[in-house]
């Protein structure tokens, strides 16, 4: 299992969504799959169709910036953040 933290701006888009949860995933890609399975559409909010993590979304795994292919150890901390953006 890994521990996934979601950004506050994402929570209101998916009623009932939790700020922090535990998932079974071996890669960041699998985290996206698991989130999408729980809250349909969430993958589209975090990844584009290239496919890759959206330009203004950052994902850190155990403190290191990650990509979709980043592998996860058992108990890894997956922190999903919104980047500085807007106007």
């Amino acid at each position: 299992m890994v521990v996934v933290s979601l950004p506050p701006a994402l929570l209101s888009l998916f009623p009932g969504c939790e700020r922090q949860l535990e998932l079974a995933a071996a890669t960041v890609e699998e985290v996206m799959d698991a989130l999408h399975a729980r809250w349909p559409g969430m993958r589209d909010r975090l990844c584009d169709s290239t496919p890759r993590i959206r330009r203004h979304i950052n994902i850190f795994v155990d403190g290191e910036k990650a990509t979709l292919s980043t592998k996860l150890r058992e108990g890894a901390d997956v922190f999903i953040m919104t980047a500085i953006s807007g106007g």
Partner: protein
């Protein structure tokens, strides 16, 4: 049964809905909706009353929002709203059109999508991007956006679209094949002798005359035009206007010869109202003559503009006319443009204005 108007706004920071009283004098503002995402277009299905909002968020990408209770609650979806792997991802949804053939959405970078399940999921109408001109499509100042979207009111096979800096296209087979529809529209920004190409025209806004589907009006970067043959040929109707440059156009709800424009002072002079005096320009004869409408609008030191989707009429009698400025002021007229008053102020920049008539 009494009828009232709801004004639907797309803004830089969310969607808003204004509810008018029976006289269209007093308005109640609600919003911002859609989590304050930039919302490019808000429309309503006039039959069901369902409201749809199109936009895109820098963090979370494009989506179409939906409310079946006039804005009280919203859902959003972008299921299927994507190009193929490796293609440039969709940044934002720019235009929406409910129709007898489903709900259509125009996006950036330019393309067309259709939903057959009321906005829950989307399918790419890929024929448009298969057009041989597509490798040469270039973005305009607002991006490579499909901003004008007009399904035929009774023939689900026909659709017209306008793409900024590319031009007008038409399909007669439901989107499988498309033809350019730019004959007669100018490109003043090209060298002399090359100003009437097949495509590359900077269409700013495309609208259809009520009850007359073959009549379309087009505000272009370079002129104002009318077509009476389904956009096969365009004729200039800009004589009598203070400028050939502007963004929005709105048709009268019942008169196919009635049109409202808000010309700006030109593409290289600041893009605000001519001589810094606000005016809506109206024709009642298909563009043969124009009348400026200024009563109640500010005169002097006016430096705002109105964006391409930010003017609309309502279906009441007499028709209401509304426009929103890029400085966040919404103006309205309840007498076909004869007199005006601000309806809402201090809003975010207004990207779109549409109306819905509801029975009360």
């Amino acid at each position: 049964m009494a009828k009232q108007v709801r004004i639907l706004l797309g803004t830089k920071k969310g969607a808003f809905i204004l509810a008018g009283d029976a006289r269209r004098r007093s308005w109640e503002l609600r919003g911002p909706f859609c989590d304050t995402w930039p919302i490019n277009h808000v429309v309503a299905d006039q039959a069901s009353g369902t409201v749809y909002a199109a936009g895109g968020n820098e963090w979370f990408g494009p989506a179409v929002w939906k409310s079946t209770d006039l804005g009280e609650t919203w859902t959003h979806s972008s299921d299927g709203l994507a190009y193929g792997t490796g293609e440039q991802p969709i940044k934002s949804v720019w235009s929406l059109a409910p129709s007898i053939g489903g709900l259509y959405a125009g996006v950036e970078p330019a393309g067309l999508f259709r939903s057959g399940d009321d906005g829950t999921s989307w399918e790419h109408v890929s024929g448009l991007r298969d057009h041989p001109s597509r490798p040469n499509w270039q973005p305009g100042g607002g991006g490579l956006i499909l901003h004008s979207l007009i399904p035929h009111p009774t023939d689900r096979q026909q659709i017209w679209v306008g793409i900024s800096s590319v031009g007008v296209f038409h399909t007669a087979d439901g989107g499988a094949h498309w033809e350019t529809r730019n004959q007669g529209t100018r490109c003043d920004f090209l060298p002399e002798g090359q100003r009437y190409p097949e495509y590359g025209q900077c269409v700013h806004c495309l609208v259809m005359a009520p009850g007359m589907p073959d009549r379309l009006y087009q505000q272009n970067h370079c002129g104002m035009y009318r077509s009476d043959d389904g956009a096969a040929h365009w004729n200039s109707i800009e004589e009598g206007l203070p400028s050939s440059f502007g963004f929005p156009a709105a048709v009268h709800p019942r008169d196919p010869a009635g049109l409202y424009l808000l010309p700006l002072n030109g593409d290289i002079r600041g893009r605000y109202v001519p001589d810094a005096n606000a005016a809506v320009w109206r024709t009642r004869d298909g563009g043969a003559s124009w009348q400026d409408l200024r009563e109640g609008l500010p005169q002097g030191n006016v430096f705002w503009g109105v964006l391409r989707q930010a003017m609309a009429t309502d279906a009441l009698e007499p028709a209401g006319v509304y426009f929103g400025t890029n400085t966040g002021v919404l103006y309205g007229s309840a007498d076909e443009g004869e007199s005006w008053a601000p309806i809402a102020q201090n809003l975010p920049p207004i990207f779109s204005v549409e109306t819905l008539v509801v029975a009360t």
